[in-house]
């Protein structure tokens, strides 16, 4: 039924999407404003600032850090963070010796409640194919040169568990407030393909 061409022109895609929405609305399967609301939720409400807040809290609050590493789903709920595609969240912490990174080889599973929707590269076959086989090379290409002594642990999200990388707190951030620390925590540092920003 849906043998789309390999080079669907934008107009074709828009037509297909409009036809599908028309049929679904007429069948009572969806409403115009449910689509608007869900898009607004993931464009404007849920995003990597939530994960960044949790990471910053872990950096300043040792008890929270332990709870996050022990049971991230529950610890995140303390901050009001949780929901679809985050039914079970596991936080994995980077150290001097261990660097964690996340992938989903089979589709593009990603911890929506803490990071929002994934970027295109995360969903692309090159990242999915290569990250489990040659992560050090992929990370280097993405600008993250890891010391050869650092052990890389790649988490392939094959089931309903979603992973949040807790990056290392950057040097020079010792006196900073939690909110300012959160601004250092990038999306990529929580996927494991980058590091937090350095304090300016």
């Amino acid at each position: 039924m849906t043998a789309e061409g390999h080079d669907s022109a934008p107009a074709d895609i828009e037509l297909r999407v409009a036809a599908l929405e028309k049929v679904m609305i007429e069948a009572g399967l969806v409403a115009s404003d449910t689509i608007d609301a869900i898009v607004d939720t993931y464009e404007n409400q849920v995003g990597p600032h939530l994960g960044a807040a949790a990471v910053a809290r872990a950096w300043v609050d040792e008890d929270f850090r332990r709870r996050l590493l022990d049971d991230a789903t529950t610890a995140l709920a303390e901050l009001g963070i949780g929901g679809v595609q985050g039914e079970v969240v596991v936080a994995v912490e980077n150290t001097e010796r261990v660097h964690n990174a996340v992938v989903c080889t089979l589709c593009s599973c990603y911890p929506w409640p803490v990071l929002g929707l994934p970027p295109a590269w995360y969903k692309s076959p090159p990242y999915r194919a290569r990250m489990v086989r040659e992560p050090r090379a992929v990370l280097a290409e993405m600008g993250l040169q890891l010391d050869p002594d650092v052990e890389i642990r790649v988490w392939d999200s094959t089931a309903e568990i979603r992973y949040l990388v807790v990056p290392r707190r950057p040097a020079g951030s010792e006196g900073m407030e939690e909110e300012d620390l959160a601004a250092l925590v990038t999306r990529d540092s929580m996927i494991g393909t980058g590091e937090p920003r350095l304090p300016s």
């Binding site: 297909r16 115009s32 689509i35 679809v84 080889t105 642990r153």
Partner: protein, 221 residues
């Protein structure tokens, strides 16, 4: 299903291309597709993923992520919601005749649905049941079965036959293989299993963790 989606470890894909300052959505149609999935047809992640996996392999590789979603929703509107395929074709014919198809989509609001939906997606669901009768404890050596013949499985090819170590028992979850085959009630323990790169690829250098259902595994012997 050993389908085109199972790309882990495949070679030849070239560099990871990163877009600077990428927006959440690139086109309005992506927003509509994303939103339409939050409906009765998209609610079953196993069937949704399987609908994508059944795409023609050449089309799968040549199309974008949200085109995969579009394909899946079109498929499930027919298969799961019972909409006749002719109805979709007819809607396309009708809208192809107007200058702006998107503007010609009926506008119908259900404010209560929208509120309930947003609440639902941002509320943590209850935790999975603890695996009280898990077969293997953390530290156990397990081998992934060489043969997984399900129409839909979450056991990638690249770990089949490999030996790893159980890092944690994640709880009890619905088995996707059974769910897509018509038995949504079968549940199993899921294990986080750690593999050495040497075991997976013949060269050391890193570790890979996967979450695998109990029936994907056997004693390492």
């Amino acid at each position: 299903m050993d389908g085109i989606h199972d790309v882990g470890g495949m070679e030849g894909f070239g560099p990871v291309v990163v877009e600077d300052d990428e927006p959440v959505f690139h086109h309005r149609w992506e927003q509509r597709v994303f939103g339409m999935n939050f409906s009765a047809v998209g609610v079953d992640a196993d069937r949704f993923r399987h609908a994508i996996e059944r795409m023609d392999p050449a089309a799968y590789l040549a199309t974008s992520y949200y085109e995969h979603w579009l394909h899946a929703i079109e498929t499930l509107v027919v298969e799961a919601a019972g909409v006749p395929p002719e109805q979709l074709a007819e809607a396309r014919r009708q809208l192809a005749a107007v200058p702006d198809p998107s503007a010609a989509v009926p506008h119908h609001v259900e404010p209560a649905w929208a509120v309930a939906l947003v609440a639902a997606v941002t509320t943590p669901p209850p935790p999975p049941a603890a695996a009280t009768d898990a077969r293997w404890p953390p530290g156990a050596r397990v081998r992934v079965r060489r043969h997984i013949v399900s129409a839909h499985t979450r056991c990638p090819r690249y770990v089949r036959g490999a030996v790893g170590v159980v890092e944690a028992v994640r709880g009890v979850f619905r088995l996707p293989d059974a769910s897509v085959a018509g038995d949504p009630d079968r549940r199993e323990a899921v294990y986080s299993v750690r593999f050495e790169a040497e075991e997976l690829w013949g060269a050391p250098g890193h570790r890979v963790g996967l979450d695998l259902w109990e029936s994907y595994l056997e004693d390492a012997g």
